[in-house]
């Protein structure tokens, strides 16, 4: 005989207003194996929990049924109360008589009372057959992988590394810094972007706990939280970085000029190159597709001139294997291509540029050394039109969302333009000014009032070339007029989209993305830096459009999550997962296909199914699939399930 206690909660009037609680308690008390039955107004309150603890001790209960709300609400509350009283927490079960009874049968009180009693009886039947369970400990590799070394990835890597854990930081480009390295100055304080970024890139490059893998991409990710196995492709740079001193002679002497993506295709680099003078690591890579030696078989100037003989044309891609316990995804954004916008010239007008291109024109290390000169003829533009919401807030173009950073960077662009060309005029076409952030609204006001930037509320319908001018047709909805501006240059604040390859990476990581390709967080408010896959965290603009302060805050948030994960010796997992009875399993493998979490493999030696305890979520798909009933759920065996059903029907 078991000694089970039944505790019925009134939940104020939520339950007691419909269900006749005293009657339910009386019936429960008469059940065999039930030693004690009682009701209370709010069992989740501290006195309510005390009632449970004291009853367990005084009556010597060996099982507890709490008839209350959904187990999603307070199962953990009551299990820990049970544990505090010295009973195994998995001897505590919840009979849901609120969501599944009183709330849905408000007008049938008698029947609701009958149903509540039945639900309690079935849970008593289950509890009778409960066995004590212990949480499972999973081994844990205390190293983190950070994918993407823009400001978000760098911050996450630094925070985790400074917490004392090793970090592998993987970056697709030859050097770290991401888009922030392309920016001239940053809103709303106008600090020079490089000046605030380089201390972080230098620290990252030198950090003893950070293993930097630039010019590398994620090839394959296997495993699960605490135990990921990652294969990383290091692309051949054709330069032996262990020998290279970063003297720069090769890129100085290389005869092949190539249009530079880093410069927004407004400037050139060499076939052997680093992204910028402040590049970390300051080691060049050779662009095979544009190298004269690789294309014609002649040249080799870089190899001949290199004082340390670091150039190695025979280098191949290599695969690096890393074992990590957590992954931070910081893959960032791209800009929506202006070639997709017909009404603004399909990207064909040289002087219609995007925001990142304008950053390069403003940057001292950019193609014009910081002078604002338009791409077509190098003239200083005297009238510049900035257009916001290009692609953003445009469901027709597939991006109904606000790209968030454009209002601020456009104000900054217009302001910086005026600082460089004081006799020039800047115009901004906007739909709304979204300047939510510390000092942001004031910044936009400053652009209007101090730098005489003319803000026009409306969209631009068309841009076309007329001689050496770009004619901009737009609306000013505040005056209700259509306006026309003959501009020398147009800067489009094109929409933020997830970076190329993000979707592919999401598949490798088995994390989900939204319809636009941004990574999905576990909860939009309360778990914003976690993915739904345990052990994988999301930071920066890959998750949604973000500005620098937000990306940095998110990165630090994710880093603290990773450190919390690494703080224990082992990972603790709920024990209510599947087990395979080795005696019964025939090794048919049906369960392997049925498992949605890839938690099932066939043991190749014993030819029976095996559960990966870290991956199993206890969904029960294998239990249903198994023809021999060798697969069982701990805490909810087939025997328990049948007993419950027998009670109910």
């Amino acid at each position: 005989m078991r000694k089970i206690g039944v505790f019925v909660c009134h939940c104020g009037t939520n339950i007691a207003g419909v269900v006749n609680v005293p009657q339910v308690v009386e019936e429960a008390g008469k059940l065999p194996d039930v030693a004690y039955a009682v009701d209370y107004k709010y069992l989740c309150s501290e006195p309510g929990q005390k009632l449970i603890r004291e009853a367990i001790a005084e009556k010597g209960l060996d099982g507890v049924v709490i008839a209350a709300c959904s187990p999603r609400m307070h199962e953990s509350t009551f299990r820990s109360a049970t544990e505090e009283a010295g009973l195994n927490p998995y001897q505590c079960e919840i009979a849901n008589i609120r969501e599944q009874c009183s709330w849905v049968h408000q007008h049938e009180k008698d029947k609701a009372t009958e149903k509540a009693a039945l639900i309690i009886r079935s849970m008593v039947e289950k509890t009778k057959r409960n066995e004590p369970l212990e949480p499972i400990g999973i081994p844990l590799t205390k190293r983190a992988l950070v994918i993407g070394a823009g400001i978000a990835g760098i911050q996450a890597a630094l925070d985790i590394a400074n917490g004392g854990y090793e970090v592998v930081l993987v970056e697709r480009l030859p050097s770290i810094g991401g888009h922030m390295a392309q920016l001239a100055e940053t809103f709303p304080t106008l600090d020079c972007s490089q000046c605030i970024l380089t201390p972080k890139t230098v620290e990252t490059g030198k950090h003893k706990k950070i293993k930097l893998l630039t010019y590398s991409e994620i090839e394959e990710v296997k495993g699960y939280v605490g135990n990921f196995d990652v294969k990383i492709r290091r692309k051949a740079s054709y330069v032996d970085w262990s020998k290279c001193t970063g003297c720069g002679l090769c890129q100085e002497k290389c005869p092949q000029k190539v249009t530079s993506d880093f410069e927004g295709r407004l400037g050139t680099r060499k076939a052997i190159y680093t992204l910028s003078p402040q590049a970390v690591p300051n080691k060049p890579v050779l662009d095979r597709d544009n190298c004269r030696y690789f294309q014609t078989g002649k040249c080799q100037i870089c190899a001949k001139l290199c004082p340390v003989g670091a150039v190695d044309y025979t280098q191949q891609d290599t695969i690096v294997e890393e074992k990590v316990g957590a992954i931070v995804v910081a893959t960032g954004y791209d800009l929506f291509p202006k070639a997709k916008i017909g009404e603004y010239g399909y990207g064909e007008y040289a002087d219609v540029i995007d925001g990142l291109q304008f950053e390069r024109l403003l940057s001292a290390s950019g193609p014009t050394a910081g002078e604002v000169r338009r791409p077509s003829d190098g003239k200083v533009p005297k009238e510049v039109v900035f257009v916001q919401c290009v692609g953003s807030r445009d469901p027709e173009k597939g991006m109904p969302y606000c790209s968030k950073i454009c209002c601020m960077y456009t104000a900054k662009h217009a302001m910086l333009y005026k600082h460089k060309v004081p006799d020039g005029q800047a115009y901004v076409f906007y739909m709304d000014i979204r300047a939510g952030g510390k000092g942001y609204e004031e910044f936009v006001t400053r652009a209007m009032e101090e730098d005489h930037v003319l803000y026009l509320r409306g969209r631009v319908s068309r841009i076309f070339q007329d001689g050496d001018k770009l004619i901009v047709w737009g609306a000013d909805t505040l005056s209700g007029k259509q306006v026309e501006i003959a501009a020398d240059m147009v800067v489009l604040a094109t929409a933020i989209v997830p970076s190329a390859g993000a979707k592919d990476l999401a598949q490798k990581l088995r994390i989900s993305t939204d319809e636009f390709g941004f990574f999905n967080e576990a909860h939009p408010k309360l778990r914003p830096v976690e993915s739904l896959t345990q052990g994988i965290y999301l930071v920066g603009a890959g998750q949604a459009p973000r500005d620098i302060p937000e990306a940095v805050a998110q990165a630090s948030g994710a880093a603290s999550k990773v450190q919390a994960l690494f703080s224990g010796e082992k990972l603790v997992q709920e024990p209510t997962i599947a087990v395979v009875d080795a005696e019964v399993c025939a090794g048919c493998g049906i369960c392997v296909g049925a498992c949605p979490y890839e938690a099932r493999i066939l043991n190749p030696l014993r030819h029976i199914a095996q559960v990966n305890e870290a991956l199993c979520q206890g969904c029960g798909a294998c239990v249903v699939a198994c023809p021999n009933k060798a697969s069982q759920l701990r805490g909810l065996s087939s025997v328990q399930m049948m007993a419950m059903i027998d009670t109910l029907v």
Binding site: H452, L478, Q482, V483, E484
Partner: protein
């Protein structure tokens, strides 16, 4: 397509003259909502500021709005960006007069000129001569005539003007 070119130099001239930061206007329309004469204006006060920002000089300087403004400054008191719109209207009036712009509201400037002319002549208002000047300027000889007769009968409009003592000082003001 009836599009118009923008002239960003105009807003600077008006800002300078009125001493107001017109670029600070974010078009909340609080000025217009409180304005007692806005319903009769061709451009409400917020629109006037917008047109100034756009540099549509002709439209602004020929508008009725600048003359219908009673300079009560309710708009300026309520403006969240601290723009004294009455001062802007005054500056626009001056520019309209200097530039010889005439619009729909011709009688109001004619009245202003007659009023000031009277003061320049006598140091104070002399209603009879002022009204004659105004009627000649507005070419509307018959309006309010009955009211004028009543006032004369009651002795409210003296026939002969009287100069004030400090006429010289008042005239000096006109030369400033």
């Amino acid at each position: 397509m009836a599009t118009a070119r923008i002239d960003p130099t105009f807003v600077r001239l008006v800002s300078q003259r009125s001493g107001q930061v017109i670029a600070g206007c974010y078009a909340c329309q609080k000025c217009t909502v409180g304005c007692p004469t806005a319903p009769n204006m061709d451009y409400a006060p917020d629109k006037v500021l917008k047109l100034v920002q756009l540099g549509w000089k002709e439209a602004v300087l020929r508008s009725s709005s600048i003359w219908l403004c009673a300079t009560c400054d309710v708009c300026g008191k309520r403006c969240p960006n601290n723009i004294n719109i009455a001062a802007v209207m005054d500056a626009l009036k001056q520019m309209a007069v200097e530039g010889g712009y005439s619009g729909r509201e011709r009688n109001i400037p004619a009245f202003h000129r007659s009023f000031l002319g009277s003061i320049q002549g006598w140091g104070r208002i002399h209603e009879a001569t002022m009204l004659v000047l105004y009627k000649l300027r507005s070419r509307d000889l018959l309006a309010d005539l009955d009211l004028g007769v009543k006032l004369i009968v009651k002795g409210k409009i003296p026939l002969l003007p009287r100069r004030i003592k400090g006429l010289r000082t008042v005239r000096k003001l006109f030369r400033l």
